[in-house]
Symmetry: D2
Subunit: 311 residues, 4 copies
């Protein structure tokens, strides 16, 4: 399908269900996709952080895109992360995702290697020139270890290099600079500004964001769809209530013992445990070398679901 | 060939010569390998940072290993970086490198994703269990954004998980802890402790390192081989003179204008310019999105070579 | 005066006017205080980052508090930063500020030294036990290099150790966790949650903040007072217009050439240049070793003022 | 006394003994000074990191310098840290230390505030111009959060702004650049290059350092004096044995439980416990808000001492 300009609404970064031997669990992925699309979401983002893209082999990544595109069958646009270190490698990831039907790709600045603002701009220009589908910039300083400056994003948008921004920096002030800059710039039209936050979707929409990419929407897509609708209706008081309910639910990301595992193991482990408890996926396994949640931790996930009326 | 236990001496991280359209330049790589092996080096490390591993596609990476193993033909051991984000992806890289004959692989902690000491240990254990060749740990905090703690390296060494350490952390105190810890631990034998520094090879060997992996050895392999020999002979005063000559030569990594490019563009650009000026490789191109050196910057590389008697 | 519980509204971090030889310019400080109080602000925060607290000697710091308390004469509460490295030094700063009448003090976690969550908690407990006035926590990761975790702030609030939070972390998600946590906790009452942002005051108030401490309010106090009033009236559309006008004005912090000076020189230099151009202070000098703005840079500050209708 | 140009040998950063109510314990400080001077050290550095300068009030800092200068009575030079955030505050610290007889002061780049290379250079120039005693640069990235670049140090040295460098960066490659740069620069004479490391004093002296400022020399001054003498005699094998003994002893800095305290509490707690166990100081208390070692942790310190033959 044609990529919307701009893309608006709720676009969950789709978890990647796995079997206990860490293969992509296609039937569970089908059910998860239906759970999301039937929940009213406006797009799907596969191969993002919440999708464990960093942990999937290239074969698995391709299978995820292929499976998703086929199963979605045009109901909503499908964005695919093209997560790799530098230009030539990202282009390989884009080619693979586009070949099996991704509607757009999401690309970070170079990482692992030392980089420079001029090299980041060069990277996006080269990537966009060679990509058969629109490219969104992915700002994820916690992973990439540089932040995309607002003025760079805006100048790339004005050149037509990037079609949108997925901002997971947590910095709403800088995010707002992109939102208002894109709105006011004569050469920018149809640019999609999306927040990656779970916790301040109401605030991001209030400052003018087009949409949100909240990992927690895997667990409660209807909640985020309601939140989005309340914001668009200007019911900010109602939106705040819904957002605070989702913030409480998001507490599940902290169930994992920090002495025993890192934040990714805990957060993605919790999302998958919740999807398993809700009957959406068959197995809550996360990819290696993440540490699995233990029984007590999974039980705490269940309590978060129960408190939110989701069990 | 059997991987030496320990590996000692000078093991350059081999530059990857490229054509002007950024394909691997196989004839230049052949010449570079001969330049190094004939220069007396004791091993070759392909697909490291200096090799622009982060910029090479999987196909190019495989071609580099295959070409190197074939051309070296057993004259020295060939180590290959298996640089990727997490366990499953690293295992793909290892399978590829081992299939074309790498004698050992060099593996970092997980990067891009958030990680944890327990997950780093799990990563190495899983990687080593599945690798057909010995695994060396690669400590590169500037890229990976975590530092491998000395006690973790030593416990993995004692378990037989890792066969060595390539330390590019710059922290000689922590490096020494690994060197002396490995020497004194009853369960550790044949463990290779290698420094990635260009500037303190004499100091690293003096504290007990087995060898060095200096990027600058591409440009002046004989210099590092001399340095290594002087250290092994206990001629520390002579070693210091040779090391200081190499430190002066290393100044070439700063030729690139920091307003225009990052440190990788400048350093790797300088090494390749030097190899081109010395007639070893046909083209000084670096991979995208690195910024090329301009004429004046290349001229300054030439002056460093001339001052070191290498032109 | 009694410190309000909670403190609400606009509480500018007051610039410290200086003579050209870097002494505190008391007459200009009097005028600046009147400019702010007559502009309708609800409190004053002296010796914060915008006040150049890090650059003022202890004698100057005391003079600033003394001058401000005397000149304010109870019209609004006066908070004073007690910025120093560790508990004993902070207690000296508090004693000095309280002796000359500060209504509350604002205290960061220990900095410069290596620290730990348990030590941060211990620090606040010891500081509060010895302070004659209420203590607010100051979360400023860019300076302190640790972030105050929301759960730590909430537990210190529940114990009665801290009376409020001044959050300059830029992380609205974590800020919201404090806001909602304080609201819901049975043992927390009258706790003041203040944002240090200039750019998202509307969003912070929308999520439930009590007030704002925006440096730019030195330049345009009436703008922030209007913004605060619009938010409290629930006129979020009107608030957004006013906030976006202030965001554009905030662009002045970038006038300084980043090749020639750091962010503090540029931002504080711009605020003081604006106050000088507006006739509030006699001299735009900033403290050493900050680099002064040049004529062209000051001219650009003037254009920001003109565009905002402030000249 | 006249400050030596260069200062060479072992210059311990002197611990600050405290009573149980955290006052400076002057009789214990006298004994510690004698322990060090009688142990053969070549200078004393008070108010450094190991001295808990960050935790001492200005009154206490002055008392430490005054007490030390009086008790040393010219036997060795006394350097004093002048640790504060910016130029005006550092100048106050220098005035205080010089007034009571410090022979030189040691000054970091500005911290807490955002800074810039041009501002760091300006800082040192202003500080040196106003200081009555020589100024040494203190490179301590773990505290200051910027690293002093070698070329900046060398240009300040060539201008006569700084008389030496105390390097606690851990980066021996950059340290070597200063050492060789200072040796070769025609405008630099008598410049003191000192390493702050405990673990690689032999390596630092081998690359040309003038001396060392090891915190562990509080515990074992004779060990470091022996090490220094072996290095100066060119007995590198003997030096390595002595250095490795001291590295093992240094393991005491890790006795504190990292779940319960930070690195400063553990390291300084261990040094003070060792001095207490050796009978040099009356009380092992560390300053607030550091967490004290418990009985089992102190016992482990004792085992390190016993293993090193120091009990």
């Amino acid at each position: 399908m044609t990529f919307p300009a701009p893309l608006t609404g709720v676009v969950p970064p789709v978890c990647t269900p796995m079997t206990s031997d860490r293969e992509v669990d296609v039937p569970s992925l089908h059910r998860l996709i239906d759970h999301l699309v039937n929940g009213g979401v406006h797009g799907l983002f596969v191969l993002g952080t919440t999708s464990e893209a960093a942990y999937l082999t290239d074969r698995q990544r391709r299978l995820v895109v292929e499976t998703t595109v086929a199963h979605v069958a045009g109901r909503v646009p499908v964005l695919a992360g093209a997560i790799d270190m530098t230009t030539p490698r990202v282009l390989d990831r884009i080619a693979s995702a586009a070949a099996v039907g991704a509607d757009a790709v999401v690309v970070t600045a170079p990482f692992y290697t030392r980089t420079h603002p001029a090299e980041i701009a060069r990277h996006y220009r080269l990537v966009a020139a060679a990509s058969p589908v629109p490219v969104l910039a992915y700002d994820l300083p916690v992973a990439v270890h540089t932040k995309l400056p607002a003025d760079l994003v805006l100048s790339l948008a004005a050149e037509g290099v990037v079609a949108g921004l997925k901002d997971s920096s947590g910095d709403l002030g800088a995010f707002r600079e992109v939102v208002t800059g894109a709105r006011e710039h004569p050469d920018i039209t149809g640019f999609s500004v999306l927040t990656g936050s779970e916790l301040i979707v109401d605030a991001a929409l209030a400052v003018g964001a087009d949409g949100a990419v909240p990992g927690l929407a895997n667990v409660d897509p209807r909640g985020y769809v309601r939140l989005d609708a309340l914001c668009r209706a200007g019911d900010w008081a109602g939106a705040r209530v819904e957002q605070e309910r989702l913030c409480a639910l998001f507490g599940m990301v902290g169930v994992g013992d920090p002495g025993r595992m890192g934040g990714s193991s805990s957060a993605i482990g919790a999302f998958k445990a919740a999807l398993h408890l809700r009957g959406v996926i068959d197995c809550p396994a996360t990819a290696e070398p993440q540490v699995p949640l233990d029984g007590a931790e999974v039980e705490r996930v269940g309590k978060f679901l129960a408190a939110a009326g989701l069990l």
